[in-house]
Symmetry: C2
Subunit: 452 residues, 2 copies
Amino acid sequence: MDVKILLKESDIPKTWYNVVADMKYAPAAVLHPGTGKPVGPDDLSPLFPMPLIEQEVSAQREIPIPEEVRRIYALWRPTPMCRALRLEAAIGTKSKIYYKYEGVSPAGSHKPNTAIPQAYYNKMAGRKRIATETGAGQWGSAMALGGSFFGLDVKVYMVNVSYNQKPYRRMYMEAYGAQVVASPSRDTNAGRGILAESPDSPGSLGIAISEAVEDAATRPDTSYALGSVLNHVCLHQTVIGIEAKEQMKIAGDYPDVVIGCCGGGSNLSGIGFPFLRDKFDGKRDPRIVAVEPASCPTLTKGIYAYDFGDTAKLTPLIKMYTLGHDFVPPGIHAGGLRYHGNSALISQLYHEKLLEGQAYGQIAVFQSALTFAKAEGLLPAPESSHAIHAAIVEARRADEEGKRKTILFNLSGHGYFDLAAYDDFINGRLADHEHPAEKIQEALDRLPKVEV
Amino acid sequence: MDVKILLKESDIPKTWYNVVADMKYAPAAVLHPGTGKPVGPDDLSPLFPMPLIEQEVSAQREIPIPEEVRRIYALWRPTPMCRALRLEAAIGTKSKIYYKYEGVSPAGSHKPNTAIPQAYYNKMAGRKRIATETGAGQWGSAMALGGSFFGLDVKVYMVNVSYNQKPYRRMYMEAYGAQVVASPSRDTNAGRGILAESPDSPGSLGIAISEAVEDAATRPDTSYALGSVLNHVCLHQTVIGIEAKEQMKIAGDYPDVVIGCCGGGSNLSGIGFPFLRDKFDGKRDPRIVAVEPASCPTLTKGIYAYDFGDTAKLTPLIKMYTLGHDFVPPGIHAGGLRYHGNSALISQLYHEKLLEGQAYGQIAVFQSALTFAKAEGLLPAPESSHAIHAAIVEARRADEEGKRKTILFNLSGHGYFDLAAYDDFINGRLADHEHPAEKIQEALDRLPKVEV
């Protein structure tokens, strides 16, 4: 049988799937951090162009993908689905393991699926510039690429410690014409304020968000852009799962379980929501599994409550699973999963038990990553390796139970920029961090007081 | 029209194409460095397993690809061919530009096309270990991957300066289980001898070859492996061109010119030889163009003569275009093209004017690389960018002449590990180096004296 299940260019989806249309309850309102009242389009328009605000609040099931976006998607989409025959043999399972591979995008992850339409809608709305933040660098790379395609200037506030530790990520963004500064920077009030107090601040995603938001809010030609969490971001990622369903049809198969790693939720939304649709339609009953790092177990150990999206309490309040807006996760290597909160949509669906959560320590995750790399060839990103590990755990459990399952996971990116993490793992320099129970109570005590 | 022209897994070639069968003259004999007599299989058997030695001297037109090799090829092959519509628009040409993309392999370049069969034949022959060298790291990465697939230990002698400058490449090889040492090392007589004289030696490809050859020659369980130059390496790479011809058929097109960068020659052989076959068959008359760096212009400014393959004069003598075995090219960023010599097959075909040569400076090459990256999304390797530049030059010339040409080039790898080079280019730290005429005379004076 074929290892790769490929679609034609004409199979690139023509619409994104909006899960909101099928949810039991409307999404919880997003609240203004000052007034505690629901935010409206006018509150958001300094930051985002109107088409993205409309998508953020839309309840329309199918949202058309602009033809110009589809033409750029065509540079790497449809992405391949692979039957992991060699991995199955390596772990000796009777189950069938498939993976959808998003690392073929020019930026090496699923992030361009939303960076391209975000750049497109900003261009259409007449914005000239995009300000954004990046931690590990995946999102900044995707946004630099998106800006380059549409002739938009992109400024990336890159967490200072990453800026210094990951020069290749900075250089990648600069190669595509983006301006990259270490955050906190001298370019914003937020940045200058922090530097005045801590000249050697290592920065944080929270600080970088504050800088990018200030930049966009104070310049009419500039939008803010986010690479996860928001509804329109999750929406754009559904091209992954829509394609995966077609590929499963070609394989003559259907997954018992669909697995994605979960930080802000865009990757899990992408692979999971289109399969969830089959559940809503009563056609099928796949399990959808969100995989988190044990050191930042938002869904599995967090609280479902209103909280800030950032440390500095500048963003609107979102009802989501959270470990507390001031929780700083340990410095694990899956930087893309180190977020205290989660997507509002993922949170609500998880709360309704339509999604499952699992959390694993990074040592087990890297072990599975190398098992995969040696069997299938590809070196996976540490974030994606959480999904690999969960798939292997699932296959082994099925073997123990004498069952043969069909398992699908999303391999959201490659690990070419993460080799220092592999080096640490091989040389025994990684540690596991469990989330201590007392931290939950501390976070609970500091949640913003909200009356809804 | 579709951007990507994809083949099915069943279209992976079943045979490699051996250009020797169609050459006007038999390849010039390879000579023993001590006796000056032609080397035979017995001279080579300490270094290579017999099936590879047979391929090295074979005149059989089609050589079957083992099924186990095809199954591993299937993890990423057939590779895509893309119509570069966005690049065509960016440079405003009327010509059609296609590229074959080999960067989808797990190691990120065309090198696994030969690393996989080399590992396979060594495994079949009962060898347990492979010793090899690597400069920029592409070849070492591919061999580490190949060894991992077949359970062979791989030891890579990595040029000291690269070992320190490219830690990610070292880490990649180690992730796949290879042992990597900086060369010169204390593990061989050759290495110890050099360290005794120069404890801080930066190393060179010549030294690393000496170490790997000594390692293999002194251990019966160990083979030596090379990633370019040799006939069997060029043979394995022909899967590229064989697929490309099928893809051109699907596109309903045929290239007027086929372009590949050329260092040791494996990449140009891969894309070029199958098209050359059409010329031999009298079916078509495509131009095949080898693109070199102006700083190391082996074909375009070298001498066609017998020379050593390495600086230390340990290898057999090969009749090839050479700049002299002791020529040390300037430290340009296309490390894979910094070789004083060339493939014997490429050299002979070039001498018979069946191939063309072009040489370009690296500044123009990086400019074209970024033009390509911003148009097509993908960040190309500096080596492959030589082919991109030649394709752009070709398209512009056709426009000036009022012609519309069909241009095909091989994009042999991605540039994720080469971002320091892009950073140097963007910040004006790159220089061009022309090869001075007096160097040619110097090299001529030092060529080994050979009577054939």
